[in-house]
C-alpha cells in the first residue's frame, strides 16, 4: 500500500478499509450477539466478537485502534461458527483476518498474542525453506522465538517412539518457486512488533 493511500485509508476509517479489502460491511451488524453466544473463545477474549464489530461501526480512530490492539483478533480460531449463525451473514472471520494483518502492519499486536504470532511465523518460516511444513523445525523455531524451551519436552520422546517425529525436513523440487511465491506476497510492515 502506498503512502498516500494509507493516509486516505486512515481518514476514511477502518470500516471502509475493511469493506474495500474484504467486501464486508460492519454496518450490517445489528448487535444481536449471536456470534458471541457461539464463539468458543469469547470467554477468554478481551472483547467479544460483536464488540469488535461495534468498535469499527462508530468510526472513531481511538476505538478502531482498540480493536487493532485487542487480543480477541488473535484468539479467533477461524472456526466459522459466528459466520454460520449470523442472521446478517457478516463474514466476521474474514474481518478478523484483515484486522490481524492490519494490527501486524501497524505494529499494534497485543503483548499476550506474541506466542500465537511466534507460532504462525515459525510455521511460515518452515514452509518458506522447504515448501512443506517440517514439524520438528516448526517447534524448534517456536521455542527459539518464545524461549519456551522446556515446553513439551515430555511429549517429544513419546512422539519419537511412535514414529511420528520426522527429524529431517523434506524439501520439494519446487521449493524455489515456493520461495518466490513468498516474496511476491510479502506484506509490508510499518515497524517491527
Amino acid at each position: 500500500m502506498s503512502g498516500s493511500s494509507q493516509h486516505t485509508a486512515h481518514r476514511q476509517g477502518l470500516a471502509t478499509e475493511v469493506q474495500e479489502a474484504t467486501g464486508e460491511s460492519v454496518l450490517k451488524c445489528y448487535q444481536c450477539g449471536k456470534c458471541t453466544a457461539g464463539c468458543p473463545l469469547a470467554a477468554e477474549a478481551d472483547h467479544s466478537p460483536n464488540q469488535i464489530l461495534r468498535l469499527l461501526q462508530l468510526g472513531l480512530p481511538e476505538l478502531e485502534e482498540q480493536a487493532l490492539r485487542s487480543l480477541s483478533i488473535w484468539l479467533c480460531l477461524t472456526c466459522e461458527t459466528c459466520a454460520a449463525r449470523c442472521p446478517q451473514e457478516v463474514d466476521l472471520p474474514r474481518i478478523m483476518e484483515y484486522l490481524r494483518q492490519e494490527s501486524l502492519r501497524r505494529g499494534l499486536v497485543h503483548p499476550k498474542a506474541k506466542d500465537i504470532l511466534a507460532f504462525h511465523e515459525s510455521f511460515l518460516d518452515s514452509i518458506r525453506k522447504g515448501g512443506r511444513l517440517h514439524e520438528v523445525g516448526l517447534i524448534a523455531g517456536y521455542k527459539l522465538r518464545t524461549l519456551h524451551l522446556l515446553q513439551d519436552v515430555l511429549v517429544a520422546p513419546r512422539l519419537l517412539k511412535r514414529g511420528k517425529l520426522k527429524l529431517l525436513p523434506h524439501s520439494i523440487p519446487g521449493r524455489a518457486a515456493v520461495r518466490r511465491l513468498f516474496e511476491r506476497t510479502a506484506a509490508p510492515r510499518e515497524e517491527r512488533t
Partner: protein, 303 residues
C-alpha cells in the same frame, strides 16, 4: 475409482496413521490414489492469520499442479487443508482478476478445474457402492462422530450439508455396524492450531468434547482431521490435568474404524501410534446391538 491425492504435511508426520489407514483401506474399497507431484504446504491457519494473499497462493499452487497432472478430483483427507483448498478455489472461481494475479504469483496456469473432496465424500461414495458387503467384523460400538469446524463450515464450501447437525459420518459409521450417539459437541471447535501456542485453551475446548462423548456412553470418538486427532488424543494428558480426572475413551480416524471392520490389522491401520490406547471393554454376546446382529446375519447370507 481413481482420485488425485493431497496428503498434506500432517499426514507425513504427526498424523501418519491417518495416511497409513487410508492407504490400507484403499485397495479393499477399489480406490486408487495419484499423489499431486511436487505438492507444497497449504499454509494452514498460519498463512490465513497473517497474510491473505499468501493464504490463497499456497493452496492455489497445489490446485494448479493437480490440474496440470490432469486430476479432476482431489481427495484432501486433512480437513484443515481441505478447507483452505476449497476456500481458495471458491474465491478464485468467483474473481477472474484475482485468479490471474495468483496465477502469475505461482507461475502456473490455473483454471480451477480440479474439484476437492473430503474423506467423508469419498467414503460416502464407497458406502453406496458396496461397502456394507465388504464388512467382515461390524464395529458394534457406540461412537461419537466428531466433525469439528472445517467439515461443516464455512457453509458455502463445507462438504457436510448441515452445519449444526451433520450426518455424513454418522451414516458411514452405521454402514459399518457402529452405533453413532446423539451428543452436543459434534461441531464444536477443538482449539485447532493452538495446540502449541495456547495449550490451555486446547485443553479447555477439547476437554469439553471428550467429557461429553464419554458421559453419553460413547466407546470411541471418530474424527476425520489430524488437528482434531492431535488435540483429543495427543493432548489427552493436558485435558485430564485440566478436568482433574482420567478419560480412557480412544480417538480413531474414520479410516481406521472402517479398516478394522474390513478385517485389516490394528498395526496396518497405525492404531499403535495413538497416545490414548485403543482398547475396548469386553461385552457379553447378549449386549451385541440388534443392528450389528442383522449385519452379521446379512454378511453370512452373502457368504
Amino acid at each position: 475409482m481413481k482420485l488425485g491425492f493431497y496428503p498434506g504435511c500432517s499426514l507425513e508426520g504427526s498424523s501418519r496413521e491417518y495416511n497409513e489407514s487410508l492407504q490400507a483401506i484403499a485397495p479393499v474399497l477399489g480406490l486408487e490414489f495419484a499423489e499431486v507431484p511436487d505438492w507444497n504446504c497449504c499454509g494452514a491457519s498460519a498463512a490465513h492469520s497473517l497474510n491473505h494473499k499468501l493464504a490463497l497462493a499456497l493452496p492455489a499452487r497445489v490446485l494448479a499442479l493437480a490440474e496440470q497432472a490432469g486430476l479432476e478430483e482431489l481427495l484432501v483427507p486433512c480437513s484443515a487443508c481441505l478447507s483452505r483448498m476449497a476456500a481458495t478455489r471458491h474465491q478464485l472461481l468467483q474473481d477472474p482478476d484475482l485468479r490471474r494475479q495468483i496465477s502469475s504469483i505461482i507461475e502456473l496456469p490455473l483454471a480451477g478445474r480440479t474439484r476437492v473432496l473430503s474423506v467423508l465424500e469419498v467414503l460416502g461414495r464407497c458406502a453406496t457402492d458396496g461397502l456394507k458387503q465388504k464388512v467382515r467384523q461390524p464395529f458394534g460400538r457406540k461412537v461419537a462422530c466428531y466433525y469439528g469446524c472445517y467439515l461443516t463450515r464455512p457453509t458455502a464450501i463445507a462438504p457436510c450439508k448441515h452445519p449444526e447437525d451433520p450426518q455424513e459420518m454418522d451414516e458411514l459409521m452405521r454402514a459399518v455396524g457402529a452405533e453413532p450417539i446423539d451428543w452436543a459437541f459434534k461441531v464444536e471447535c477443538c482449539g485447532a492450531g493452538f495446540s502449541i501456542s495456547r495449550l490451555e485453551t486446547v485443553a479447555e475446548l477439547s476437554g469439553r468434547i471428550v467429557e461429553d462423548a464419554a458421559h453419553r456412553g460413547a466407546e470411541a470418538i471418530v474424527v476425520a482431521c489430524p488437528m482434531c486427532h492431535t488435540n483429543l488424543d495427543l493432548r489427552r494428558s493436558a485435558i485430564e490435568r485440566r478436568l482433574g480426572r482420567k478419560y480412557s475413551i480412544p480417538v480413531l480416524y474414520v479410516s481406521q474404524v472402517i479398516g478394522l471392520t474390513l478385517g485389516l490389522s490394528p498395526r496396518q491401520l497405525g492404531l499403535h501410534r495413538h497416545a490414548v490406547p485403543v482398547r475396548f471393554a469386553e461385552r457379553p454376546a447378549a449386549a451385541v446391538p440388534a443392528e450389528q446382529a442383522a449385519l452379521q446375519a446379512a454378511g453370512q447370507k452373502e457368504d
